[in-house]
């Protein structure tokens, strides 16, 4: 079944294709690893011989998700997550392409390592894996990497992962140089000095817990600076993870000015807030930190309007040993590949966000920004497709999650809606019975 590459007809589905604002009831035909067509009434008569017909009974069929920010442990931390385990989690969560991050050991900062990642993923992963490469050598924030050669080797964007490049001259030159290769620079906007020893959002709640806060200005100061550098250089820039309402104003001005600026928000920041930390629950410690409810609402609205282009998982597997510690000493990060869609569906069910907008931010926009195939159900697009039962109720059991680490903030959470089939390159790689 898993290696079956017969044509598939997804019949009687609600077909949603954000790449052309399509939302129809109809059939989708997949053959030879590609989307053949999506329309009303293809029916059993219109398919090649041997086609597997799936009656979707009104379930949603959409492009497979492209998760633009996920940490996978390979190379160097395979005990936390391997391409195999990450891809199993991804498939179960409807993610058909993982964009892995370069802050590994060794750092993905030379073409040989990009090549290693691509080959290793090809041999072990059941979904597509595409790496971002480091923006600076060794993530040291000082010297730019071989942007041209790395891109030629298969790097889809350039980032220093969870680190910010504090030296404005380095970022300026990288933005300038990258133009030659039309390379996208993805930047974590968190000023390390303003962040200091902060471990959660600065404000009343941090003060009550006796924890040092991270001010919103740690993000906006860096983002404002970056926008000025984009204006100076004309580079192509993507803010890796914005978290607060003030950042949206900065983004709006940049976009209104016609700058080549886009942004992501993590599913954590779209669905959780600082109050979820409760009494020092370290599974809610992420970087940048969860902000206030007003910030969360503003982020969701911005995904709705497209001001925030991408919603990503910020998947970051952490062991029990790095999480079962006092809050300030615990590692930041949450897993998310398997839960990003179902968590996002909360927003849809609560009528905070349209399904089309959610799917666009999780598939079409990442494909466009990274210049990779996918994110579309047009004829000829790769057959990376998911089937979603919008109404299936379930409770997240960490032990059933496929990731090697179980640090999910949705531990025991009640969800509505789940992926029931994931198809990658025309093959069904996950099916929920």
């Amino acid at each position: 079944m898993l290696s079956d590459r017969r044509p598939i007809l997804l019949a009687n589905a609600r077909i949603i294709d954000p790449s052309r604002d399509l939302d129809i009831v109809g059939d989708l035909l997949i053959a030879d690893g590609m989307i053949r067509e999506a329309r009303k009434g293809i029916g059993a008569a219109g398919v090649p011989e041997g086609t597997e017909t799936v009656d979707c009974r009104g379930k949603v069929v959409a492009p497979g998700l492209i998760d633009m920010r996920a940490f996978v442990g390979e190379p160097g931390a395979g005990h936390r997550e391997s391409f195999a385990s990450a891809s199993q989690a991804a498939a179960a969560g409807g993610v058909t392409t993982i964009i892995c991050q370069p802050d590994t050991s060794p750092v993905i900062d030379d073409p040989a390592t990009v090549d290693f990642v691509l080959r290793r993923a090809r041999d072990t992963a059941i979904v597509h894996v595409q790496p971002m490469a480091a923006l600076t050598k060794g993530l040291n924030g000082k010297e730019m990497t071989e942007i041209g050669l790395l891109k030629a080797a298969g790097a889809v964007a350039f980032t220093d992962g969870a680190r910010s490049v504090t030296n404005a001259q380095v970022l300026r030159r990288a933005l300038t140089y990258a133009r030659e290769f039309d390379a996208l620079i993805v930047h974590h906007t968190e000023d390390p000095d303003l962040t200091g020893d902060g471990v959660m959002n600065e404000g009343e709640f941090a003060a009550r817990l006796g924890l040092l806060g991270v001010p919103r200005a740690a993000e906006t100061v860096m983002l404002e600076r970056d926008i000025r550098l984009v204006a100076l250089t004309g580079g192509r820039y993507h803010a890796a993870s914005v978290t607060c309402a003030e950042s949206l104003e900065v983004l709006r001005r940049a976009k209104d000015a016609g700058l080549n600026v886009t942004a992501s928000a993590s599913i954590n920041h779209l669905t959780l807030n600082e109050n979820d930390i409760g009494s020092y629950r370290t599974f809610f410690k992420v970087s940048p930190p969860l902000r206030a409810e007003d910030d969360r609402k503003a982020l969701v609205a911005a995904v709705g309007t497209g001001l925030i282009d991408v919603a990503m998982s910020d998947h970051n597997p952490q062991d029990v040993e790095t999480k079962r510690l006092p809050f300030a000493e615990a590692a930041a990060g949450a897993i998310g590949l398997e839960t990003m869609l179902t968590a996002g569906l909360r927003l849809v069910h609560n009528e905070e966000l349209a399904l089309m907008a959610l799917l666009r931010a999780m598939s079409t926009r990442p494909a466009e920004l990274l210049g990779i195939p996918g994110g579309s159900l047009r004829s000829g697009a790769p057959a990376d497709v998911i089937v979603v039962d919008m109404d299936a109720p379930w409770i997240i059991d960490p032990n059933e999650l496929k990731s090697k680490c179980k640090n999910t903030p949705f531990d025991e959470a009640r969800m509505t809606g789940r992926v029931v089939r994931t198809i990658v390159g025309g093959r069904t790689v996950y099916e929920f019975a």
Binding site: L211, Y280, R324, L325, A328
Partner: protein, 317 residues
């Protein structure tokens, strides 16, 4: 020999992790019980037997002289077997995690563990892994409940009440667990609380704690019944939070001139250890309005009260 105090107050919880969550009745009950122990502690025969057979472990991950000594005396006077463990001698130095330490100690069947830790929330984390009663002796910048209780007892004995008093808490509020526990307790008991500090030493959001905020000592101390000074750590004095010791003392150190802004019968407190000449002048610290030595005495009494009240919940035989 008296066996048990007259007061039969029971704290209806297993742990004392903070002032947060205690009711007016809980606090009053502990203060009343504390009063009895003040009298007991002034007698020649100070021994009680209510904790006889019980094991109390003082687990201090952060160096402390007075709090640890105070808890040790309190436990011994109630008849407990008291063991002290400090970070320098424990396996924490060998890389054992906090949770593993908790599991190890738990296997030794202690009845009460008193914990101090440098990280906020660490005591709560430990308590979640232990079967015995846990008392927070200070966790990071979060809470230090027995300090707030002993401060309250000191205030009540000297002013006859807490309700309606104006209490100015001055100094490094940002890093202070003493300030947090005191703000919560004093608010619960109906006092009016002010915090007075340079803005760099105030946490963001402090105005939402139900306190008045002042950056200036004249404004902050005006009409105060109690002036509570906080310790300023040395590493925070040299340009990171305030420019220098002399500038800090000039504007925020408590001397006789600034104390005169408060009510004429205002009383001065400090949780100790003091930095004389930094946050408080010696003349004030040792003066007639100072309650600082009495606070130490109340510390032993209130810790006996907490141990006694919690032990009444422990399973017996």
């Amino acid at each position: 020999m008296t066996i048990a105090p007259k007061n039969s107050f029971v704290l209806s919880r297993r742990h004392l992790l903070g002032i947060e969550g205690l009711t007016h009745g809980d606090i009053t009950g502990l203060l009343d019980l504390g009063e009895e122990f003040v009298e007991l502690n002034r007698q020649v025969e100070k021994k009680r037997t209510s904790l006889r057979g019980r094991t109390q472990i003082n687990l201090f991950f952060e160096v402390s002289t007075r709090t640890q000594a105070s808890f040790e005396l309190a436990g011994k006077r109630l008849g407990a077997d008291v063991m002290n463990m400090s970070a320098s001698s424990s396996s924490m130095r060998k890389g054992e995690t906090l949770v593993d330490t908790a599991i190890t100690l738990n296997a030794m069947h202690p009845d009460i563990i008193v914990v101090r830790h440098h990280a906020s929330g660490a005591v709560e984390l430990l308590a979640s892994k232990l079967d015995c009663s846990v008392i927070n002796a200070g966790d990071g910048a979060h809470e230090h409940p027995t300090q707030a209780l002993l401060d309250a007892l000191t205030i009540r004995r000297n002013k006859g009440r807490i309700e309606g008093l104006t209490v100015a808490i001055c100094g490094d509020i940002l890093h202070s667990r003493v300030a947090r526990s005191n703000i919560i307790l004093l608010n619960a008991m109906g006092a009016r609380v002010r915090v007075v500090a340079p803005a760099t030493l105030l946490p963001q959001g402090i105005e939402r704690f139900g306190v008045d905020v002042a950056n200036d000592m004249r404004e902050g101390l005006n009409g105060a019944d109690i002036v509570m000074m906080l310790r300023l750590q040395r590493e925070r004095m040299n340009g990171s939070y305030v420019p220098s010791v002399s500038e800090y003392f000039h504007y925020w150190g408590l001397d006789q001139k600034k104390l005169a802004y408060a009510k004429p019968d205002a009383l001065v407190m400090h949780p100790g250890p003091m930095n004389r000449g930094v946050e408080i002048d010696s003349i004030v610290a040792d003066g007639a309005q100072s309650l600082i030595r009495e606070q130490v005495e109340m510390g032993v009494a209130i810790r006996m009260a907490v141990l006694e009240a919690l032990s009444r919940n422990l399973p017996s035989a």
